[in-house]
């Protein structure tokens, strides 16, 4: 079949089973937009800003495990998408970003809306392509999907000059792809599995530390089997929340900068850390000097460069964490009688003592809304089953600490790059993926304003997201750091001249609610979630100077957490 390059682009997306493409048109992309117009299989969602397109596709990908699709034009189209690419790259999220480019003969001549998209995106994509010939389009798209979704996933950019989208060629979509320089991930040798299990069977102070890799690999069931068969304490990273159920007695909470006392102390005192699809980043480890001084490190990751990057592994295993967990579980089944729960009895005694300090405790109030309380009520009202997106800051940490996730793909946040503005467009992507599910965007008055224009997109496509705005009139996390480390010099961390969010939401055609009293929180949430077909923007006026505890401050270790004044842990 002879088709134009533009039609080949769209047909190739159909071949890949793409439902939605989030994008924004412009000159260099117009042939492709015309091709979108000629068909109904692949739906194009018009956002209000290209950053929103990337985050929406990202949210879709995180909520489904399928790659997210973005279409932007050249020049400012792709530069606006860069933040979203970097966000997805840092969290290993599969995205395919198609960008229009100026006509091939104009490349390099500073043409209107010309930018070197391949060059500018290189540090924040897994791979990228500049299409040179119309004959290469289908094969390149096939490769892009393969690269984005296999190994350690990540975003892939395809830059397509406009003239090539007008040229015509035979369309044949390749059935498979082989890349000699990008071989498939291998199964790890059995000897490594056996050694890993041996280490676990002999540990007296073990901890299982699982991250986003378990989510990406859909390995939550395998993780649960491992944890339960060993009876080991399990902690999740910010990216790994939902990997292990929040209310299971073996779960000791999130670890890291704002992790629980018990999770961080257990990391510090452990004799064996089993790291599963996690990368020991600086927000997890605190200072590397004196990190887990007595622990043997068993590190499982699909990406070899993660092994020994920050923390030297004693037992490295490179492979898909799901395969490795299956290997562990099979070997443990074989050695069932060697599992000795008594080995960890003393350890559990210690952990339970730490846990009894209730490090997430906060002082409830009858007069002023505590942000933690809103998140706890959100859990109750949604039965703990909502998809929760967040922006970046204190509200993100409160959501991570207090929502309580029981399954993966439900907690959707920018953990690596820390991108404010992520939450609302990500929630749109989630809502497209799961139209019948409750989708809440937990945000703050600072973050929400970074992509608030997407309220328009939500109206156009009837996306009944619930926006939970924890409004403390401060850039709360910045203010918290300034309180702790800069003697309360609150340099530029206030938010003056805030809009009336209720009216703002209403002006977009949504429902706005202002909630100022703790007694109104639950009722308002129930009312909002009962409005199944409406976006409700809930502006919660919260305690101005609430802080996130515990906190490992810069240069401190896991055992040196700053705890809430007045708490038992203190």
């Amino acid at each position: 079949m002879q088709l134009s390059g533009a039609d080949i682009v769209v047909k190739s997306l159909k071949e890949e089973g793409v439902e939605y493409v989030f994008g924004y048109p412009g000159g260099a992309a117009l042939h492709i937009y015309d091709a979108f117009h000629r068909q109904d299989d692949v739906k194009h969602i018009l956002v209000r800003h290209e950053q929103g397109a990337t985050h929406a596709a990202d949210g879709y990908a995180r909520a489904t495990g399928k790659p997210g699709l973005v279409m932007v034009t050249s020049g400012p189209g792709i530069t606006n998408a860069i933040t979203g690419l970097a966000t997805a790259y840092m969290d290993s999220i599969p995205l395919i970003v198609l960008s229009g480019q100026v006509m091939k003969p104009l490349i390099g001549y500073d043409a209107f809306q010309e930018i070197d998209a391949v060059g500018i995106s290189r540090p924040c994509v897994k791979h990228n392509f500049l299409i040179q010939n119309v004959e290469d389009i289908a094969e390149t798209i096939k490769r892009a999907f393969h690269i984005a979704t296999t190994g350690r996933p990540g975003p892939v950019l395809i830059d397509i000059p406009k003239d090539i989208t007008a040229q015509v060629t035979e369309f044949i979509y390749p059935e498979s792809v082989e890349m000699r320089a990008y071989p498939p991930v291998k199964l790890p040798p059995l000897s490594e599995i056996v050694s890993g299990v041996e280490a676990m069977l002999n540990a007296k102070k073990p901890i299982i530390y699982s991250g986003g890799g378990v989510v990406l690999a859909n390995a939550q069931e395998e993780l649960r089997t491992l944890v339960r068969s060993l009876g080991f304490p399990c902690t999740n990273t910010l990216m790994g929340l939902g990997g292990y159920p929040h209310d299971d007695p073996l779960f000791i909470g999130m670890l890291g900068m704002h992790g629980t006392y018990e999770a961080n102390m257990a990391m510090h005192d452990a004799d064996l850390i089993v790291a599963l699809g996690a990368r020991f980043d600086d927000r997890i480890t605190g200072t590397l000097d004196g990190f887990a001084p007595n622990a043997k490190i068993l590190h499982v990751d699909i990406d070899p460069s993660v092994i020994d990057k920050n923390i030297k592994a004693d037992l490295p295993i490179i492979g898909d964490v799901k395969d490795v967990l299956n290997g562990f579980n099979a070997e443990l089944k074989r050695r069932r009688k060697d599992i000795n729960p008594e080995l960890t009895t003393e350890w559990w005694g210690q952990i339970n003592e730490w846990r009894s300090y209730d490090s997430l405790w906060y002082d409830e109030s009858d007069t002023i809304i505590k942000p933690q309380y809103v998140v706890q009520k959100l859990h109750e009202v949604t039965g703990g089953q909502a998809y929760v997106t967040s922006d970046v800051g204190q509200h993100q940490m409160f959501a991570a600490q207090f929502y309580g996730f029981s399954d993966t793909h439900r907690w959707i946040n920018s953990g690596g790059l820390g991108t404010m503005g992520f939450g609302l467009p990500a929630a749109m992507g989630v809502k497209f993926a799961h139209p019948d599910a409750d989708v809440a965007c937990v945000t703050g008055e600072g973050s929400i304003q970074m992509c608030i224009q997407e309220l328009g997109t939500c109206k156009q496509y009837d996306l009944p997201v619930k926006v939970i705005n924890l409004n403390n009139r401060y850039l709360g996390m910045v203010r918290q750091w300034q309180e702790f480390s800069y003697e309360k010099r609150y340099s530029n961390s206030y938010m003056d001249s805030l809009p009336d969010f209720v009216k703002l939401a209403e002006s977009y055609g949504h429902v706005g609610m202002l909630i100022e009293k703790p007694g109104d929180v639950e009722g308002a949430l129930r009312e909002a979630f009962a409005l199944k077909d409406r976006l409700v923007f809930m502006d919660f006026i919260t305690d101005r100077e609430e802080n996130v505890y515990p906190m490992i401050e810069a240069g401190k270790g896991h055992h040196e957490m700053r705890l809430r004044p007045g708490s038992k842990a203190q």
């Binding site: 391949v118 060059g119 290189r122 540090p123 897994k126 791979h127 990228n128 500049l130 690269i147 082989e178 890349m179 000699r180 320089a181 990008y182 071989p183 990406d303 070899p304 460069s305 092994i307 020994d308 990057k309 030297k312």
Partner: protein, 166 residues
């Protein structure tokens, strides 16, 4: 420690910038970098000389290996290897020093080409140390320009850098 890393990569536009971008983005040191197609025109061979401790070089190799265009790589400095660099030095040689000049050229097995009045281009290939020595030995003459190719090398044992078959 100085390491010479040989890399086979897809001979595609942008592959070089992926490697150089990786080094600059992660703060890795590049002493020299050379690249040219191999006898298989779809593959380029790059030789990177870098300096770092074992941990850093381990990270460099892992990150290079992750690049989608990189098909194979090898640190040839881990055992016996042959390394060569070509140098061209343009020197000014006063008439009364031509004998001494020719003696140096001969001692290094280099060749000299007379290019203008009292100017010569000296060409030599050898290890980087030998190239350094050659340049330093021209103190009696005036060095006008120096160009070095950067290091290329091969394992001088049975090791072969090749693309693993799928």
């Amino acid at each position: 420690m100085r390491h010479i890393i040989s890399v086979l990569l897809e001979n595609e536009s942008g592959a070089l910038s992926r490697v150089s971008g990786l080094f600059s983005a992660r703060g890795y040191n590049i002493e020299s970098l050379t690249v040219a197609p191999t006898n298989d025109p779809t593959l380029s061979r790059m030789t990177i000389v870098t300096i770092g401790d074992d941990r850093k070089v381990d990270q460099i190799e892992k990150h290079l290996g992750k690049l989608v265009d990189v098909a194979a790589l090898q640190d040839i400095t881990v055992s016996d290897h042959l390394e060569r660099e070509i140098v061209l030095v343009k020197v000014q040689v006063p008439d009364d020093q031509t004998v001494a000049f020719e003696r140096v050229v001969g001692a290094f097995n280099a060749t000299a080409m007379h290019v203008a009045d009292d100017q010569y281009i000296v060409e030599m290939s050898g290890s980087s140390e030998k190239v350094d020595e050659l340049i330093n030995s021209f103190k009696i003459t005036k060095v006008i320009e120096v160009v070095r190719s950067g290091v290329i090398g091969l394992a001088s044992d049975a090791r072969v850098l090749s693309v693993p078959s799928l």
